[in-house]
Amino acid sequence: MLNYTFHWRPAFNALPDMLWGALVSLQIAVLSMVIGVVLAVFLALGRQSNNKLLYGFSTGWVELARNTPALFQIYMTYFGLGSFGIHLDSYVALLAGIAFNNAGYLAETFRGGLRAIPHTQTRAARSLGMTAPQAFRLIVLPQMFRIVFYPMTNQMVWALLMTSLGVTVGLNTDLTGVTQDLNVRTFRTFEFFAIAALIYYLLAKLITLSSRLFAWRLFRY
């Protein structure tokens, strides 16, 4: 039964390739967060809007993103849009899928964060002559980002792990894609995926640690 012989050497030899893949994974995660955060701010506002159309659109987005599998969302951006003649390449489709998911989750987090900021803050800002968008941008948003910072970190880790789904839409440049290619060529399945898992783990830890450092630097108050 246990007649599997470990061969770590091919796996270690492939380490540089895998690390490059990890960099691609990290890049997709970061980009999907940047896009997701911007969209989520608008979705959170839409969820509070009196405009039925804006409210309906944002609510639909949030419901879909939170209550369907991420894999399904990525399939939709790749194969789903593809059936309408919109062909995104694997990288873009994965990025769009994860950004869609991020935006949906973060919108709810942001909505909670916005609620935690007393309305008197906006009132004080408006009383100084600031316009409503100025009050939101200069007074409300910076305070919101502090409140939602740790949930955002979670989402970032989640985004990194979601990048592994890229393999299902044919991405072969990210960590999972590279690992899968190596696996197919060498059949050292356990070794390669163990190393890949370790790299994911370390990247996730790196994200958590650096966000703590960021928070410490940013939120001095």
């Binding site: 008197t120 009132r123 408006r126 100084l128 002559g129 100025q134 001095r220 108050y221």
Partner: protein, 240 residues
């Protein structure tokens, strides 16, 4: 000049102001006293357009505050307001709290805004606290910072909404001293306050609010010293 003409204001079915008329001249200090829920604070919120009104008119230097064509952001630049809950911006240092509006609203350069802010903060006795975050200040210091923040816009009028009500008793004095200093410098002020003795000492006129109406208005010695209406007498008895 601030003029209120038969101003009516309701929250739903609750009428808070029931026809308030009042004129405040440039350079005048008017104190508004009265029980809680009498509409004093609401009146201030209406004067700078933070609350809409349902009837009457409020004119600030001839501009109708609630007219559709009025640029409220512009109007608010000349009406400073300080709230009971000082509302410091917690994510900004004391200096940045005061610099923000001159920079973003008046379009001053960073250097100019900083000069203004330092001057105003020094004025209210916070010259040593520029780089500190509001959470490190006492309530009285935060309230003085809020005053400096409003003053940094060089307003023509200052509205004070029970600015000492949320403070520990030993911190009230420092804020009242700041108000007194402003009144002596000739700032036009409307002070909603529960500090009756202070109101008597610092005001040109005192108005007594009761159930959404001004019941008595006149010189402090008259309204506080020799009140005529039974409501005023009862109120003063209960607070003095």
């Amino acid at each position: 000049m601030i003029e209120l003409k038969d101003v009516r204001k309701s929250f739903g079915s609750l009428e808070v102001l029931k026809g308030v008329s009042l004129t405040v001249q440039k350079g005048e200090v008017l104190s508004v006293i009265g029980g809680s829920g009498s509409g004093k604070s609401t009146m201030l919120m209406c004067i700078n357009g933070l609350e809409p009104i349902q009837g009457g008119q409020i004119l600030v230097d001839g501009t109708d505050v609630h007219a559709r064509s009025t640029d409220l952001n512009k109007l608010r630049q000349k009406i400073g307001i300080v709230f009971q809950q000082w509302n410091a911006f917690p994510h900004l240092t004391v200096l940045d709290n005061v610099m923000l509006a001159p920079r973003k609203v008046l379009g001053k350069s960073k250097k100019e805004a900083e000069e203004i802010a330092v001057k105003q903060l020094t004025h209210v006795g916070l010259g040593e606290k520029l780089k500190v975050y509001p959470s490190k200040l006492s309530g009285g210091q935060q309230q003085r910072m809020a005053i400096a923040r409003a003053l940094a816009m060089s307003p023509d009028y200052m509205l004070f909404d029970e600015v000492t009500s949320a403070l520990d008793p030993q911190l009230v004095g420092e804020v009242l001293d700041t108000l007194k200093m402003l009144s002596e410098e000739g700032m036009t002020m409307i002070l909603v306050t529960h500090e009756i003795r202070f109101a008597r000492d610092v005001s040109d006129r005192v108005a007594f609010f009761h159930k959404g109406l001004i019941h008595e208005i006149g010189a402090p010695d008259q309204v506080i010293g020799n009140p005529q209406r039974p409501e005023t007498i009862d109120f003063l008895k209960s607070v003095l």
